[in-house]
């Protein structure tokens, strides 16, 4: 196999022929091109051992395997004693010699002077829920997303500032001292005046149009408070003319008074 990942993938199936692999994790160390040392370990057992040794898990940065760390020394010496533990090298695998077997081993390794390899694992008390690697990856993702959101927040504040500047500019153009309610009130007032003026003009225009329809001459026109009073005359003032004018006014206005005098007609129309 070419890489460590492939080896790790097949390790559980290899081990399950000999041991129960539940709760076990696996490790592979490459010796040469096509040769690996592989082993299974139980994190819970390691944690218990650390506890028994009177240590806290957060005091332990990394955990190294003797199979890897002492491989080179034992490959040459075959037997070695470390911290009163006798080790032997059998078929390229380091094994612990049981304490009841008395062997005189001269080769004693001072563990303090060992230069450790880069092959190690780290475990924590929460390893059974989430392993360190996954936890770190998740943390990195969350921090990256947080940075992206921070960039977006910054851009949002720029947009808010832009809108606030536009609002301030509009207020400066109109009148700084006027509140929205005051502006609404002014608009309402102006609209009311404007609509009234439109109605007045329509009424005047309608009344003045009588001249072109019935050929009358206006004697006077008065307009005040949405009320128009007109007096007009014709060569022939009679009820027929009065009726024609009445019909004309009725088409558009309901409030009116029409009176025929001797030589003129007076009319009062209200909006």
């Amino acid at each position: 196999m070419d890489n460590k990942k492939q080896v790790l993938n097949v390790l559980p199936s290899l081990f399950e022929e000999f041991i129960e692999i539940e709760n076990l994790k696996f490790y592979a160390y490459k010796l040469d091109t096509h040769s690996y040392i592989s082993f299974a370990y139980n994190e819970e057992h390691i944690l218990q051992s650390i506890k028994k040794a009177g240590l806290q898990i957060n005091q332990i940065k990394n955990i190294y395997f003797s199979q890897i760390e002492f491989y080179e020394q034992l490959e040459s010496t075959k037997q070695m004693k470390i911290d009163n533990v006798s080790l032997s090298f059998v078929n390229n695998i380091i094994v612990k010699i049981p304490d009841n077997i008395k062997i005189d081993i001269q080769n004693i390794l001072d563990i303090e002077n060992i230069k450790l390899s880069k092959e190690s694992i780290s475990i924590s008390s929460n390893s059974k829920y989430i392993d360190n690697r996954t936890s770190n990856i998740l943390s990195i993702f969350l921090i990256l997303f947080s940075i992206l959101f921070l960039i977006k927040i910054d851009s949002n504040y720029t947009i808010i500032d832009d809108y606030e500047n536009r609002i301030s500019n509009i207020k400066n153009v109109n009148n700084k001292s006027l509140s929205n309610i005051q502006i609404k009130s002014i608009i309402k007032k102006y609209d009311k005046i404007y609509n009234k003026q439109v109605q007045i003009r329509e009424l005047l225009s309608y009344v003045l149009n009588i001249k072109s329809i019935h050929d009358v001459k206006f004697l006077s026109i008065e307009m005040q408070n949405k009320k128009v009073k007109v007096k007009f005359m014709n060569n022939k003032i009679d009820s027929a003319l009065e009726n024609k004018i009445r019909v004309y006014i009725q088409k558009r206005y309901k409030k009116y008074v029409l009176k025929t005098r001797d030589n003129y007609i007076s009319m009062e129309i209200s909006i």
């Binding site: 936890s135 153009v173 307009m223």
Partner: protein, 129 residues
């Protein structure tokens, strides 16, 4: 050196992430608020400007009246300012001139409070904003 638990780091990351997501939501809702405020003010401003322009101010009304009299060559015009109105009187005016003058006035943005046409005299009261 004491090792920092990776789960602690993860928890801190989650808390930071949640705070930032909430801040993001808050700024988003602020954008919506400030945007609707801007649209309302813009609409009000447009309405305010349109309303202001729909009717003449005192200065503009006087200027426009003089323009009309100049165009129609009317001589006997008097404009008197009285509190919030202009009283316009034109004497010795022919029927034809009255008709022309009235047409012009009605087509401008004056606030006509009162109108009186009698014989050869014309009187208009124009309101001032």
């Amino acid at each position: 050196m004491k090792k920092i638990n990776s789960l602690t780091i993860l928890l801190i990351s989650i808390i930071i992430f949640l705070i930032i997501v909430n801040l993001y939501k808050y700024t988003n809702s602020n954008i919506q608020n400030v945007k609707s405020e801007y649209l309302e003010i813009q609409k009000l401003s447009l309405g305010f400007t349109t309303s202001k322009k729909s009717l003449y101010t005192q200065r503009k009304a006087e200027q426009q009246l003089r323009n009309i009299t100049r165009q129609l060559n009317i001589k006997n015009l008097s404009i008197v300012k009285k509190s919030k109105k202009l009283i316009v009187k034109v004497k010795k005016m022919s029927f034809y001139e009255q008709d022309k003058f009235l047409n012009k006035v009605l087509n401008e943005k004056f606030i006509i409070l009162k109108l009186k046409i009698e014989k050869n005299e014309l009187e208009i009261e124009i309101g001032i904003k």
